[in-house]
Symmetry: C2
Subunit: 108 residues, 2 copies
DNA sequence: CTTCCATACCTAGTAACACTAGGTATGGAA
DNA sequence: TTCCATACCTAGTGTTACTAGGTATGGAAG
């Protein structure tokens, strides 16, 4: 369970450049140190949702020796949303830390 | 949205001693620095769920000059689950940090 | 050449979660 | 006695991520 932060994570992956679904799954697995190993049924609907929301744009590409791929790229709205998402995550994480921490959260 | 970590947060509050629903809401608001201001419709079903799962036990109390309250306390299972929840949160938070961070997460 | 695997995409249905929007009841203050 | 804060509750809803299927193709293995 990604608990509502999937969108920001996907946007963060695409910040490094356009990518297609499969590659995004691998990037997330790699970035998360193996913690997030997402099934396709998670990523594809999410990509569609993000494109619907105009945070991503997609183009079909068929590389010379390859299968057809749908490549997604961040839109300007997507960048903005990613920035918001990072702030939201930061706030959220601090709040959970101090709620769970029994008092002593990570020392400043 | 508490994104699946509500249970651990509630358990953490009760680690400091038994409390009733309203008090738990206030404790969470206070611990989270105001970030988590939960409506009752969130907390009560959660408490019932946690008791159902034997992570909490409850007793009705009616203090001399007061309204009836349902006071919840951590069970042994609840303590164990809280420990798991803290570990799960730690893992999750690190994974999101490194997924969002573009590489540089909070420095060790 | 056929068979199989990895790649690559997709969707319908489901379970869980937190929330909205209501409701009941009581102690104490105005 | 009227009203507010306390204190509890639940049915229904929207969102999310997942399960469990499905289609199709390029390349390797036989």
């Amino acid at each position: 369970m990604l608990k509502g932060h999937l969108d920001a994570i996907v946007l963060a992956v695409l910040e490094s450049g356009p990518a297609h679904g499969y590659a995004i799954i691998e990037a997330i697995r790699s970035r998360s140190g193996g913690t997030f190993d997402l099934p396709e049924g998670t990523i594809y609907p999410a990509l569609h949702r993000l494109e619907q929301a105009a945070l991503l744009s997609s183009t079909w590409t068929t590389p010379p020796n390859g299968r057809r791929r749908r490549v997604y790229a961040l839109t300007r709205n997507g960048s903005a949303r990613l920035a918001e998402g990072r702030k939201a995550w930061s706030r959220f994480a601090k709040a959970v830390d101090s709620s769970l921490g029994g008092g002593r959260a990570w020392p400043a």
